[in-house]
């Protein structure tokens, strides 16, 4: 119940952020979110900036260049866009981090089961992906060349596909052995 309420609060706040267009109000909302995050605020802000930066920076720089070329002011639009993006991403990291997604989506048994299986696999695969990346770095005395990165990406991709096949069979057998599908036949 708490998680569903938290999810609804988060969704409401996200939608509300798209109806606010004054930079001052967006900045105030961002400050409120960071204040509410307490000691986690610097971490929330850093994570949000890292997550939003690539797309927001590309769009902002493009808009800045286009505005300079056409000799029109770009400041207000840029400020509004970036404050809104940062506010929404901060909201995600501040609120959604406290959310138990499985409990929030518990209204559908199939959905929550698929979610549990997927998240458990995602966490395992993410750790393995990080291991592979570190392994490539540790065996490359200098920064890995483009060719080495491509070979590594292809080998890791193929490995994940084989691992997926292996895990799918294993999980299916484990579910079947525990009678998961008996009440569905």
């Amino acid at each position: 119940m708490r998680d569903r309420a938290l999810l609804l609060l988060y969704l409401g706040a996200i939608v509300a952020a798209t109806f606010v267009h004054e930079p001052a109000r967006l900045a105030a909302a961002l400050a409120a979110v960071l204040l509410a995050s307490g000691r986690r605020a610097p971490r929330v802000l850093a994570r949000a900036a890292r997550a939003a930066a690539p797309f927001a920076a590309a769009v902002s720089l493009g808009w800045l260049a286009a505005s300079w070329w056409e000799q029109r002011p770009a400041g207000a639009a840029l400020l509004r866009l970036n404050l809104r993006v940062l506010l929404m991403t901060c909201l995600t990291f501040a609120l959604a981090a406290r959310l138990d997604l499985q409990s929030a989506l518990g209204f559908s048994r199939t959905l929550s089961f698929a979610l549990v299986l997927t998240v458990s696999q995602v966490l395992t695969f993410r750790r393995l992906h990080a291991d592979f990346r570190l392994a490539l770095r540790s065996r490359s005395p200098r920064r890995a060349s483009t060719a080495a990165s491509l070979r590594h990406g292809a080998a890791a991709g193929a490995w994940f596909l084989r691992r997926a096949e292996h895990d799918a069979v294993e999980i299916a057998q484990a579910l079947d052995a525990r009678g998961f599908f008996l009440d569905r036949r």
């Binding site: 939003a52 639009a77 991403t89 491509l150 599908f181």
Partner: protein
């Protein structure tokens, strides 16, 4: 490819949520009707694989990187509706766990990548399969990526037309179609090649089999 929160206005994402909700309902009903011992685990594991494959970046000359999306792979292996559900789940997890994408952009991303991309992938696969199986798999991966990028470019380019401040400045994504179509679609013509190769590999390695096959030892790490 997928758009973060804050770039799409409510005039876009609210109707998109309506469309996506209808599509999610159809997809879940079809999944429940066909649920068996092999489908759910395979779908979950391949969803997780698509999630991780999106993290494997391919370097491009000039210092930029791209990543595959696995649309064609999922569509060919599981069909349009299951691929749509699977990619929606990937996008939801990316939005909530990593702030990558976003919940306002979720329906547009899900419809573009999961539904339009999957339809294009399955269409290309069916069209070419009688001629050559490998070419059909590759085309599925390529078409899925390019079709979804084209839809995303269309939706992004629509934003300045839908919402502007009284001074004429854009409220959300600022560029029109003249910019978004070449900027988004052209790089994805190249990314589509990587997705084509992925669909080809996956189509050969991961074709659905009965769940009773004995599990082998796990693959050795690269």
């Amino acid at each position: 490819m997928h758009v973060p929160d804050g770039f799409l206005g409510p005039q876009t994402y609210l109707p998109a949520y309506g469309l996506a909700a209808a599509a999610w309902t159809v997809g879940l009903r079809r999944l429940r009707a066909r649920l068996d011992a092999a489908t759910l685990p395979r779908l979950a594991v391949v969803t997780a694989t698509a999630f991780v494959l999106m993290m494997i970046t391919v370097p491009l000359p000039g210092g930029t990187t791209v990543h595959v999306a696995g649309i064609g792979m999922l569509a060919v292996l599981f069909g349009v509706w299951n691929a749509f559900l699977s990619l929606s789940l990937v996008l939801l997890l990316q939005a909530l766990m990593f702030g990558d994408g976003g919940v306002t952009a979720l329906p547009v991303n899900a419809l573009a990548m999961g539904l339009v991309g999957s339809l294009a992938a399955v269409g290309a696969h069916r069209l070419l399969r009688p001629l050559n199986r490998d070419a059909a798999l590759f085309a599925a991966g390529w078409a899925g990526t390019v079709a979804s990028a084209t839809v995303m470019a269309g939706v992004l380019g629509l934003q300045p037309l839908l919402s502007r401040a009284p001074d004429g400045s854009p409220l959300f994504f600022p560029f029109g179609w003249k910019t978004t179509l070449p900027a988004v679609v052209l790089p994805h013509l190249v990314v589509g090649v990587a997705d084509g190769v992925l669909a080809l590999l996956a189509g050969r390695c991961l074709a659905p089999r009965p769940a009773t096959a004995a599990p082998s030892r796990g693959p050795e790490a690269p």
